[in-house]
C-alpha cells in the first residue's frame, strides 16, 4: 500500500465517521460536530494528494487552508442558525423542528 492510499484511507474513515455522526445525532450541535469531522477528512485527503504526488507546488496546502476558512465561515453561520432555532422553538432537536410557517 502506498503512502498516499494510507493517508486517504484515514481520511475516508474520518469522513465516514462524520457522516455517521450527522445521521445519528438528534441535536443540531451534535450534527455540527459531525460536519466538522467530515470537512477535516476532506482536508486531510486533499493534503495527502498534494504532498505525495507531483502536483503544482503549494496548491494542496493552500486548498486545505481554503477548506479550513470555509469551515470557519460555515460554523459561524450555523451558530447563528442554532441560536435562532433555540429562540423560536426552545430546543435544538432536529426531529421536532418541522414548522414551515414564518
Amino acid at each position: 500500500m502506498t503512502m498516499l492510499s494510507t493517508y486517504q484511507l484515514v481520511a475516508i474513515a474520518m469522513f465516514s465517521i462524520g457522516l455517521f455522526g450527522v445521521m445519528n445525532r438528534r441535536s443540531l450541535v451534535g450534527m455540527l460536530i459531525g460536519v466538522e469531522l467530515m470537512l477535516n477528512g476532506a482536508g486531510l485527503s486533499i493534503m495527502a494528494a498534494g504532498q505525495f504526488t507531483q502536483t503544482a507546488g503549494a496548491l494542496a496546502q493552500l486548498s486545505t487552508l481554503l477548506v479550513m476558512g470555509l469551515a470557519a465561515a460555515e460554523t459561524t453561520l450555523v451558530l447563528a442558525i442554532v441560536l435562532i432555532v433555540d429562540k423560536r422553538f426552545g430546543h435544538v432537536e432536529s426531529e421536532n423542528i418541522s414548522m414551515l410557517r414564518g
Binding site: M1, T2, M3, L4, S5, Q8, L9, V10, I12, A13, M14, F15, S16, I17, L19, F20, G21, M23, N24, R25, R26, S27, V29, G30, L32, I33, G34, E36, L37, N40, L44, M47, G50, Q51, F52, T53, Q54, G57, A58, L59, Q61, L62, T64, L65, M68, G69, L70, A72, A73, E74, T75, T76, L77, L79, A80, V82, L83, D86, V92, E93
Partner: protein, 168 residues
C-alpha cells in the same frame, strides 16, 4: 528512525479514530466536543507528518482555537442554560443501524476506489517552504485569497444580522 515515524503515525491514527468515535457516539454533548478536539489534534499531527508544519499550526489555530470555541459557545447558549448536557432519548435501533449503514457504504465505496485505482505516490512527502506558500497566495491564487476573505466577512455579518434583535 523509520519505526519512530510509524509509531507516531499509529498514535495520531488512534487519536483521529478514537476522537471521532467519541465525538459521534457519546450521548453527552460536552464529551462529544472533547472527542472532536482530540480528533482535530490528531489531524494536526498528521499534517506535521506530511511535512506541512504551517498548515498544521493553522489547523490548531483555526479549528481548535476558533471553530471549537464557536461550537462550545453554541453548547453554552443553547443547552447548558437549561441543564441539558445530554441529547434526549436515543434514536430507535433501526435508525441507528441505517445511519451506520450510510457511513459504512460510503467508506467501502471510497476505499474500494482508492485500493483499486492507486495513484503513483512518492514515499517521502514533498517539502514546500512557507515563503513559497505566501508567494502563491499573493500571485496565482490571489483571487481565492480575496474570495475567502469576502466569504468570512459575509458569514460574520450574516450571523450578526441573523441573531440581532431590535430593542423594544
Amino acid at each position: 528512525m523509520q519505526y519512530l515515524a510509524y509509531l507516531t503515525f499509529g498514535m495520531y491514527l488512534f487519536l483521529v479514530l478514537g476522537g471521532g468515535l467519541v465525538a459521534t457516539g457519546s450521548r453527552s454533548i460536552v464529551r462529544a466536543f472533547a472527542g472532536l478536539l482530540v480528533a482535530l489534534v490528531g489531524v494536526a499531527g498528521l499534517y506535521f507528518l506530511m511535512d506541512a508544519p504551517f498548515i498544521a499550526l493553522m489547523q490548531i489555530l483555526i479549528y481548535i482555537g476558533a471553530v471549537c470555541v464557536i461550537i462550545f459557545m453554541a453548547v453554552m447558549l443553547t443547552m447548558a442554560s437549561r441543564g441539558e448536557g445530554y441529547e434526549s432519548k436515543l434514536k430507535s435501533p433501526a435508525k441507528r443501524i441505517m445511519s451506520m449503514l450510510a457511513g459504512a457504504v460510503m467508506a467501502f465505496l471510497l476505499a474500494g476506489m482508492v485500493m483499486k485505482y492507486p495513484l503513483a505516490s512518492t514515499v517521502a512527502p514533498r517539502h514546500i517552504p512557507v515563503a513559497e506558500l505566501g508567494e502563491a497566495l499573493l500571485g496565482p491564487y490571489a483571487l481565492a485569497f480575496e474570495l475567502i476573505s469576502v466569504i468570512l466577512f459575509v458569514a460574520m455579518v450574516g450571523a450578526m444580522v441573523a441573531v440581532y434583535e431590535r430593542r423594544k
